[in-house]
Amino acid sequence: MSSENHSCQSNYLTFKGKYAGVWGWLFSTDHKRIGILYLYSILSFFIAGAFLGLLMKLELIAPGSTIMRAQTYNGFFTLHGITMIFLIVIPGIPAVFGNFFLPLLIGARDVAFPRLNLLSWWIYILGALVALSSQFLGSDPPDTGWTFYAPYSFRTGTNMLPAVLGAFILGFSSILTGLNFIVTIHRLRAPGMTWLRMPLFPWSLYGTAWIQLLATPIIGITLLMVVAERTLKIGFFDPTLGGDPVLYQHLFWIYSHPAVYIMILPAMGIISELLPAFARKPIFGYKAIVVSTLLIAFIGYFVWGHHMFTAGMSGTAQFAFSFLTFLVAIPSAVKVFNWLATLYKGSIHIQTPFLWAASFLFVFMIGGMSGLVLGALATNVHLHDTAFVVAHFHFIVFGGVGYAFMAGIHYWFPKMFGRMYDSGWANTGWGLFFSGFLTLYFPMFILGMKGMPRRYFDYLPEFHGLNVISSLGAMLMLFGLAIVLINLMRAARRGAAAPDNPWGALTLEWTVPSPPPVANFIDIPTIVTHPYDYSILQPKDLSK
C-alpha cells in the first residue's frame, strides 16, 4: 500500500520503452497509454463535431438561409452525426476510461490482449480517417444523415462509400475492444475479487462489451450490403430490384438501438463509481444495479422497432415494440432510484466530479422520460422526426455520455496525469455548460411538440423565438465547454502534483501512485471486501 514501494518503478507517463518519443506512445501496448491515445483522438473529434453543431445552430438562428445553403446543412448534420455517434459516443467511455481503469479497478496489470488493444486503436484511427475522407474526396460530402437510410444511401450522388466503409471499420475496433474486455474481466480479476466484489464500472463495461460483440456484426454486414448495393447493384434494399428498404431500417436499428446502451451503460457505470465516493456511503442496492445492467443489455436487443413506428409495420409488431420499450425503462429507473438512495443521508462532498454526476441524474431523467413519450405509439406518430426527437436523444446521449464523461475525467484526472486542476474554473465551466445545455435543448422539446421537423435548414416564422433561445444556449454551452477543456489542458501540463487518493475513494485505482506505475501494482492485491465498504474508513481517511 505504501507509495515508497512504488517509487522505484517509473510511472507510465515518463516510462521509456522500446521506442522513444511519440513512437513510444503510438506503439505502446500499455493500456494506460492507449487510453490516453483514445482520449486525445476522441477529444479532437469532439471539438470538431461540436463546432459543426454550433454552425448548424447559427444557421437556425433565423428562418431562411442564414449562413449556409440547404445542401451544406445536409452535409453538416450528416458529418455531425457520424462523428458524434461512431467516433465519439460509441467508443467514448470504454475506449478512454475502460482502457485506462478497467485493469486498475480489477487489480490486473493490463488487459488480456495488450497488442490487440493497440490494434483496436489503430483500426479506430483508420476508420476515422476513411470516414472523414468522405468530406474531401470525390463529389459532395454525404447527405443521408448518420443512419444511411436505404434507398437514398445508394441513390445519392454524394460521396457515401468512404462514410459507410469508415463506419464498418470502426465497428471492428469496437468489437475487438469488447472482446478484450470480456476476456480481461473473466480471466484477470485479482484474487478474492468474486463477481459480486467487482466494482460497478467494470460491471457496466462487461454488459457493454457483450452488446459490442453481439450487435456490432449486424451493422457491419448491413453496411457491407449498402456498399454492395452501391457498387454491384445487388438489390438487397432497392425496391426497383425487388429489395425492401424497410428491411434496411430493421437491420440498422437491430444494431443501433443496442448501440444506445453501448453508449449509456458505461456512463451509468461511472456514475455508480462516483456517487458512493462523494457521498461517503456504500452504493445502495449493488446487486440491483448489477442485475439492471445485464437486463438493460438483454432487453435492449428487442426494442429496435420503436424507431420505425411510422415506417410501416403491423399493429401487433408496433404494440410489442412499444411494450418492450417501456419494459427496458424499468431497469434504467431502478438505477436512478439506487443512485438517489445512495445520496440519501450521505455526507455529500460537493466537488467538480459530483456536480457533473448530479447534473447527469437531472438530464438523464428528462431524457429517459421523454424517451417514454416517444415509445408510446400515439405520441410517437405526432412527434416522429420532429425537433422533439433531437432534444430527447441529446438529453440522453449527450446528457448521458457527455456528463458522465466529464464526471469521469474530473474524477480520474488526478490519477491519469498526476496533477490537480483548478476546481474554481472547473466549477464555473460546469455551471455555464449546464445552463447552456438546458437553454439549447429544452426549447427543442417545445418546438418539436409544435411540429418543427428535424433535419431542415429552414423553418416557419412562428418557430423563430424558441430557435433564437436555443442557438444562444448553444453558444453559452460551448463557452462553458471551452473553459472546462482549457482548464484541464492547463492542469495536465502545469497543475499541482496530485496525491494518490484526492477524493478518499476506496476502489483499487486509488491505492496506486498518481500517475500509476507501468505495471500498475507491485504485487497484485488480494481482495477481501466489497468495493464500496465506506463503513471501514477511519475519520482521517475521509478528509481530503
Binding site: 501496448t29 500499455d30 496489470r109 493490463d110 488480456a112 490482449f113 495488450p114 490487440l116 468489437i175 472482446l179 478484450n180 470480456i182 476476456v183 473473466h186 480471466r187 484477470l188 460483440l213 453481439l214 456490432t216 456484426p217 449486424i218 457491419g220 454486414i221 448491413t222 457491407l224 450490403m225 454492395a228 454491384l232 447493384k233 445487388i234 438489390g235 438487397f236 430490384l241 425487388g242 429489395g243 425492401d244 428491411l247 437491420l251 507501468v518 505495471a519
Partner: protein
C-alpha cells in the same frame, strides 16, 4: 519489458477466439435474415433459381470441407502427441482441401458468369426480382464465405510454419487450436449455406 508481456493465458486466448466466432456467426446471421425474408417473399422464383445451381459441385465442396475439418482436428491431436511430422502432413492436407474448395467455387462462379448471371448483369435483370435477389444473395453469401476460407487458410499456413519451426509444441499449441476453431466455424457456415442454396428447391 513489462510483466504483462511475459503473461500467457491459453484459456483466455481460447475464450477470445470463441467470442470472435460469435461475431462471425452474427455477421453471417444478418445475411441469413435477409435470405429468409426474401425467400418468404419470392418462394417460386427462389425455387427455380436454385435449380440453376450445380448441385454436384455443392455436394463435392461440402465433402471437401467436412474432411478438412476432420484433418485439422487430427493435426491438433498429432501436435499434442508430439508427432510433428504427422501434424504437418495433416495441416497440409487441410490447406489443400481448402484450396480445392476455392477452385471449385471459381469454376462454379465462372460458369454462372459465362451464362451472363452476375450482380447487375442485363440477363439477370430480365429474369425478375426473385431471381435477382436469389443470385445476389448467392454471390454475396458464398463470396463472403470464400473470403473467410482465405482468412482460414492464412491462419493455418502460419500455424503450419510454426509447427515446422517448433514454435507450436505439445505444451503450447493454442494458435493451432484457435486456427482449427476458426476453420470449423467456416465449415459450419457452409453447412447452412449448402442446403439453403442447393438443396431446398
Amino acid at each position: 519489458m513489462t510483466p504483462t508481456e511475459s503473461h500467457r493465458d491459453d484459456v483466455g486466448a481460447k475464450i477470445g477466439m470463441w467470442l470472435f466466432i460469435f461475431t462471425e456467426l452474427l455477421l453471417f446471421g444478418g445475411l441469413f435474415i435477409v435470405y429468409a425474408v426474401y425467400r418468404y417473399k419470392n418462394p417460386v422464383a427462389f425455387h427455380f433459381a436454385a435449380e440453376e445451381l450445380n448441385r454436384g459441385m455443392g455436394i463435392l465442396n461440402t465433402i471437401l470441407l467436412l474432411i478438412s475439418s476432420a484433418t485439422v482436428a487430427m493435426s491438433l491431436t498429432a501436435v499434442q502427441l508430439n508427432e510433428r511430422g504427422k501434424s504437418l502432413i495433416l495441416i497440409s492436407i487441410t490447406l489443400m482441401l481448402g484450396v480445392l474448395f476455392l477452385v471449385n467455387k471459381y469454376i462454379e462462379w465462372g460458369d454462372k458468369w459465362g451464362h451472363g448471371i452476375y450482380p447487375g448483369s442485363e440477363k439477370l435483370l430480365e429474369l425478375g426480382h426473385g431471381e435477382v435477389l436469389f443470385f445476389g444473395l448467392y454471390f454475396a453469401m458464398t463470396g463472403l464465405h470464400a473470403l473467410h476460407i482465405v482468412i482460414g487458410l492464412l491462419i493455418l499456413t502460419i500455424a503450419l510454419f510454426r509447427v515446422k519451426r517448433n514454435r507450436i509444441t505439445s505444451s503450447d499449441y493454442v494458435l493451432l487450436e484457435n486456427g482449427g476453431l476458426y476453420w470449423h466455424m467456416v465449415d459450419i457456415v457452409w453447412i447452412f449455406l449448402f442446403p439453403l442454396f442447393y438443396l431446398i428447391v
